[in-house]
Subunit: 525 residues, 2 copies
């Protein structure tokens, strides 16, 4: 068989059965192989950033990796921002980048570029397959690497793809994904003892939870520890997948703005990291510390992003044997009325969020009220913008919906970020995915209006007209309903809480994608 078939066969044989693709000429044999090798679903996206974001959303929900098929260096470049987010989320992913034929590269054809250098910036594993006979083993190696929670990038030259001499994998990848005790992570006894000692010290301790501990088992263990020891339990600012809502142990997230995060951490003498990294300011600000760990606070690394849930469960059994974590109660906000604001929109979402929803949150500043408003909604998952590279939400909703076709996906999307990868709406329509996208439409890069002041760029003065113009999205105003309809997703514009409630209820009642353009004022207005 040729290399393309061996690649597909090995992927399918190891449980990878979705491939988000934006192929080109150098990938045509892979495309053709989809019809000869069964078991792989090819999902077309209109831009590579949609493919990579979708694969990230898919893997966060499915727990198994999707494949991504990209075309040469420029295709990889287009997918890079969402690979960056996936890297920060420790998402397992296998990225296949088709390259020119091995003998063609020396001619420096127009699309030739340094794929390896670009791939290296986001991938935990990069390999260039040299012969058809190596395809299966290289694919297994890519999957084994992905298991560690990295983006694996396999560069597949066109002639390796089209030439015969390949075989399917003789051995299967050791891929197992998931969370909890059974993952076989080796506990670091010393780290557990140190964390236990800090938590027993009676000194103010913060337990910062992240990685694989932000799902119910890890959260339950963390809350048990907090309830038994008095430690403050916080979740990392941007968890890859946070389980929350009624019936799930609830923990507050570390704030995005450094000033607020510093308040949450103030006075801590011990900081125990369970799957989270040590907290730092998202950006630097003149005269303000980057490191958010309070002076004199001892940092104890309990576990890295994988194995954190298992370590917390072990620690909870030691510190709070037999205890049960308090869980959030079902408590929805009251339905607001009148003109829509960011907070009113959040409340409406809190009132109506369906059971078992997957919330993809790229609502940025306009979504400031969503976490509080949905804390008592029925249990749901939240996927967040782990790497800060905007343009993640609409693609990730594609992947989440494909991973969990029976769950409603609610995609909360800031207007500015939406335009990065707006064509993902088309894939939602094409695949008839049950995604409800709410655009928080405030007509501005509101976060940057805030940041312009916070970094002191205008010395406390009102920004000048040129600066304001670069942060404004209102001239001309975008019409997301028309954009959505042009891409095959029906939409509705809403300006009041009642209209949003009606639009959400209708969208949740009818399968398939919907878009709601929720016009809200800027937080600064």
């Amino acid at each position: 068989m040729n290399g393309a078939r061996a690649l597909l066969d090995t992927l399918v044989g190891n449980g990878v059965n979705v491939c988000f693709a934006n192929p080109g000429t150098s990938e045509m044999h892979f495309v053709a192989a989809l019809d000869t090798v069964g078991g792989m679903r090819g999902v077309l996206t209109l831009f590579e950033g949609v493919a990579t974001g979708a694969a990230d959303g898919y893997a966060r929900i499915a727990g198994t990796p999707a494949a991504v098929l990209l075309h040469l260096g420029p295709g990889l470049g287009n997918g890079l921002a969402n690979l960056h987010n996936a890297r920060r989320a420790h998402t397992p992913m296998v990225v296949v980048v088709g390259d020119h034929a091995t003998y063609h590269k020396k001619f420096d054809a127009p699309l030739e570029s340094d794929i390896d250098a670009v791939a290296g910036s986001v991938s935990g594993w990069v390999h260039r397959t040299k012969r058809p006979g190596d395809v299966a083993a290289d694919t297994v190696a890519a999957l084994d690497a992905a298991r560690r929670g990295v983006v694996s990038t396999l560069i597949l030259p066109a002639d390796v793809s089209w030439s015969d001499g390949a075989t399917s994998a003789e051995r299967e990848a050791t891929v197992t994904f998931g969370g909890g005790r059974d993952d076989g992570f080796t506990l670091d006894d010393g780290a557990v003892r140190a964390a236990a000692s800090a938590l027993r010290s009676g000194e103010r301790t913060v337990l910062l939870v992240g990685g694989d501990a932000t799902r119910a088992p890890g959260l339950a263990a963390a809350v048990r520890i907090g309830e038994a020891t008095g430690a403050t339990v916080l979740c990392e600012t941007f968890p890859a997948r946070l389980e929350r809502g009624a019936g799930v142990p609830a923990i507050e997230r570390l704030a995005y703005f450094a000033e607020a995060a510093a308040e949450q951490l103030a006075g801590a003498q011990h900081l125990v990291l369970a799957g989270a990294t040590s907290p730092v300011s998202f950006f630097a600000y003149p005269g303000k510390p980057s490191d958010l760990v309070p002076d004199g606070c001892a940092v104890h690394m309990l576990a890295s992003h994988r194995g954190a849930a298992a370590a917390l469960e072990h620690l909870a059994d030691e510190l709070a044997p037999g205890s049960t974590a308090t869980v959030a109660s079902l408590a929805r906000p009251d339905l607001p009325t009148g003109d829509l604001t960011a907070f009113a929109a959040a409340a409406v979402i809190g009132v109506l969020l369906p059971e078992g929803a997957i919330v993809v949150d790229e609502s940025n500043t306009a979504g400031v009220g969503v976490a509080a408003a949905t804390a008592g909604a029925p249990a749901h998952d939240v996927l967040t913008l782990t790497g800060g590279a905007i343009g993640y939400g609409i693609p990730a909703a594609v992947g989440a919906a494909i991973a969990a076709p029976d769950r409603p996906v609610v995609s909360l999307q800031a207007d500015g970020s939406a335009l990065y990868t707006i064509s993902a709406l088309w894939t939602q329509a094409r695949e008839n995915l049950d995604v409800t996208t709410v655009i928080f439409d405030n007509g501005a890069y509101d976060i940057l209006r805030i940041e312009l002041q916070r970094v002191g760029a205008t010395d406390g003065h009102t920004p000048g007209p040129k600066a304001q113009e670069l942060l404004d999205l209102g001239s001309p105003a975008m019409d997301f309903v028309r954009i959505g309809e042009g891409l095959g997703v029906p939409g509705r514009r809403v300006r009041t809480a009642e209209e949003l409630a009606a639009a959400l209820a209708d969208a949740f009642a009818e399968p398939g994608p919907h878009l709601i353009d929720a016009v809200v004022p800027s937080l600064l207005s």
Copy 2:
């Protein structure tokens, strides 16, 4: 002054007065400086790929570089594909990538990534500014490098941007852009002699023209040489900027498909390269040569991409002293009638193309008839997809229109490629640019349907349903009129030649951006 102001001041002082921007927090001091340093026009784009493509289109028309402002590694990644095209076009460009503050990088904050590695893949010059006092000199160095026809990338840490201690440039950059004799390029006398000898040999010679020789002076010299010596004069397949139409010396372009290109070159015993690279197949195909130079053909490098026009003029004066090049006559096609096809659409464009138009051509397969149909139109420039990375056209039209506000820009755009950077329409509306976008809407990645066969991926059989699905854009059908309207550009859908003619006439008559969704059948149907 702070680093941001010194950067702007130095750019403006050296004639760079447009900056295409998609800023973030780390660039806020640059944004604020736009109001304190006069002379720089900031143009907001909704995606970095729009900013880089616009800067490419701008510089190709203006002859001077634009600046681009990008946000950290992911912003650079989003702009990478169009930087790849700019690299292949030898476009002078200064890319400023804001980075975290120097002291912040060690904390590996969420947006931290290897900017240098990614920038290196597309830039002829990359530098990371270390101190505010270095900003002005580094900016001059970036401009000097850009003069060589490269993408210069200046990485500007946020604290260098916001800290005082910078001054304006003490010396100006040696930047001079343009073409023709006065550029001061040193002629390679040996190369000129070798080329002259080949052209005088009486053996079949092809003169392949590219680089700065695809504008009127270089073309005239090349045509004079061809007319005097009998050499076949061809233009590189994807010129950065080709002048053509009535009154301009006309030369045929080397074909995209290798089979057709091989026919154009068949029998050549000498190939003289004037600003073009030696012809190679765009992609490799099983069993077919990558190198398109015929066996036994001697290749003579007359000049590289810059200085080619000057070298040709020198050579023409030697080989054809006192001669004048034949130029194309004004000759428009007849206006077709009835159902629109790709060729009918091309003819309508040929009938109506305005004097002095700038044609940005990303029409790909559907635009196959455009070159012939517009050969006798009034003189115009054509910008092409030099690097093969799609998503170039709509952004490049933005830049071209800003560079030449008095010239009509005609953006010929394939449907599949359009979705890569569709938000560029919004910037066209925001800046009220005189751009008429014609979407060749055939509902498919038609080029890939062709390539799937050409690479032999289906062994001559009809592609299977999964392969066909990955090349289809018709399910759901996109409505570009709605998409355009949602982004602020009025549009019209046309299905007949008459409708296209009416829509084009209206668009050309009314200033500002317009979109025409031209529904055409697939070339394969």
